[in-house]
């Protein structure tokens, strides 16, 4: 670690934290306006243009509200629980790359806070800690509904973690690395054959994860919804059955922190889907020619051309992530909630076998060298 490393790491971390903090109010607004759009009403539209400042007003309200602690809770764990659920949510995004690397005076700058050798495992291990916040909140609140909510959430998270972990094994088999940076880079190659058949030149599409692992992608997507406790799998909250689930006894900023954790987890899940299955920072179709046009038009060369490329990659990455964030909202206001036994059936009897089939198929393909 020399000065260069310290400065770039600090800058990248600051960039990421600022982005993560912006995600929460923006998504709160998108969620409310989006649901209004789908239900044919207006939603919050009074504060600021299009109601954009509604989230700021909400945040001020959260901060200045009275923050009582009910008499029947375990105070220490009651206070700790929101923190425990927010911290892992902030930690996970650190290994996801948002652009390819760039050469600065002979030094390579990776646009990723930490390019860990075990990147994917790190994501899963940190994400599996999120359940502690929910358990702690449910138990320390000393309330039947909260206990029910946290019980549901932990059994749901453990069940779906299994299919989620198994579904990415296909990706690991194909790219034979756990480094998220390498996985994103390798998705820039072209797909030369489909199974045993060679593809003609004009049909060769980029080797994005979703094209070579469609089944794995499906399982991963469903598991991501369950892991983030979003509808149609928001059983831990289940307003119509258990009031508000694990955060029933929380108010003001402590409740806001649970909400923050939910949106951040959603953001991480979207980032992970993008990195594993949609090429990560690889340019969106059409962006390549656009970038070339821009570079030739303004005569960009050397460093400025490189920075333009990085800018386009960051833009592509966040556009893809943004699409999946919208997808989460879209699904939430479209599908009704599952029943608890349906959730468990889907997890264990459909998703788990599908993930196993995916591994078997990918293994066979890899054995014959078709991937």
């Amino acid at each position: 670690m020399d000065t260069f490393d310290w400065i770039t790491t600090a800058a990248k971390s600051a960039f990421l934290v600022i982005i993560l903090l912006q995600v929460v109010p923006i998504m709160a607004w998108v969620e409310r306006r989006g649901s209004a759009l789908m239900q044919n009403r207006l939603g919050p539209n009074r504060i600021g243009p299009l109601g954009l400042f509604q989230s700021i007003a909400d945040a001020i309200k959260f901060i200045f509200k009275e923050d009582p602690i009910p008499g029947h809770v375990e105070p220490f764990y009651y206070m700790l629980a929101p923190l425990v659920s927010v911290v892992p949510a902030f930690m996970t995004f650190g290994v996801i790359p948002f652009a390819s690397s760039i050469n600065l005076d002979g030094r390579v700058l990776h646009f990723q806070v930490a390019d860990l050798n075990v990147g994917l495992l790190y994501v899963f291990s940190v994400a599996s800690l999120g359940v502690y916040g929910i358990i702690m909140a449910g138990w320390s609140s000393n309330n039947k509904y909260t206990i029910l909510g946290s019980l549901r959430s932990s059994s749901q998270m453990i069940s779906y973690e299994l299919s989620m972990g198994l579904s990415v094994i296909g990706i690991i088999l194909v790219f034979s690395t756990l480094k998220l940076g390498d996985i994103a880079t390798q998705q820039g190659q072209l797909m030369t054959h489909l199974g045993p058949w060679l593809l003609p030149e004009w049909l060769q599409i980029p080797k994005w994860g979703v094209f070579i692992q469609p089944l794995g992608f499906l399982v991963f997507l469903v598991a991501a919804f369950a892991e983030t406790n979003r509808l149609p799998f928001d059983l831990p909250e289940g307003e119509s059955e258990i009031v508000a689930g694990y955060h029933l006894e929380y108010g003001s900023m402590k409740f806001a922190m649970f909400m923050m954790a939910e949106y951040l987890n959603m953001f991480t899940a979207s980032g992970l889907i993008t990195t594993l299955y949609f090429g990560g920072w690889q340019l969106l179709p059409g962006f390549g020619p656009l970038l070339g046009l821009l570079q030739s038009q303004f005569g960009l060369a050397g460093m400025s051309a490189e920075w333009a490329r990085v800018g386009f990659e960051v833009l592509s990455f966040f556009l893809k992530v943004g699409f999946f964030m919208w997808f989460f909202v879209w699904v939430r206001w479209t599908l009704p909630r599952f029943r608890y036994d349906q959730l468990m059936d889907l997890g264990w009897k459909v998703m788990f076998p599908l993930a196993m089939v995916n591994i078997l198929l990918t293994g066979t393909f890899a054995y014959y060298g078709w991937i």
Binding site: Y77, L116, N117, L121, F124, S125, I135, I158, E161
Partner: protein, 178 residues
């Protein structure tokens, strides 16, 4: 390889402090959460030793899966403080417990000081591992070639444990309430 001494003492101190919390605290939930922190501290030490795979697996398996079940069992059984309070033990018992603890400590100190434990170096140096493509690659290659038999036997052992657990649960269900 140089471990940053500050972080080593930080994690080691955390591990020792939390381990004592595990056995000293009356509240079983506090003990369980302290144990979670102990596993974290261990993961930190593994990461300092450049064993990133072990560190990640430590957090993934122990804190992310096993301890969640522990915490749940404790919470569901609602094991309150009195059931853990066994009353004051006999004087002789406490003396012998203290004595054996001291002897054990002495043995540990002697073992670490006297043995040639620290000088054993395997063939896998840091540079070699780095050249072969990192921890994960090296461990998985060894596990699926040289150590394939123990690896498979371990999985059979786990399978046997699962089957046993299901069998016991089923028998209780038939004989009991149903």
């Amino acid at each position: 390889m140089d471990i940053s001494p500050f972080f080593f003492y930080l994690f080691a101190g955390l591990a020792i402090a939390c381990s004592t919390m595990v056995i000293l605290k009356k509240n079983p939930v506090t003990s369980a959460f302290s144990l979670v922190l102990v596993f974290f501290a261990f993961a930190g030490i593994y990461a300092l030793l450049d064993a990133h795979l072990i560190a990640a697996l430590q957090v993934f398996v122990y804190t992310g899966a096993i301890m969640v079940l522990f915490v749940f069992v404790i919470m569901l059984l609602n094991a309150d403080v009195p059931s853990f309070d066994l009353g004051r033990s006999h004087f002789l018992m406490r003396v012998s417990a203290g004595f054996s603890a001291l002897v054990l400590l002495g043995i540990f100190v002697w073992a670490f000081k006297e043995s040639s434990f620290h000088s054993i170096g395997g063939e896998f140096t840091l540079e070699k591992i780095e050249a072969a493509g990192g921890n994960t690659q090296v461990i998985s290659e060894l596990m699926f070639s040289e150590y394939i038999l123990p690896f498979e036997l371990t999985s059979i052992l786990l399978l046997a444990a699962i089957v046993g657990a299901v069998a016991i649960a089923k028998r209780k269900l038939v004989g009991g309430r149903v």
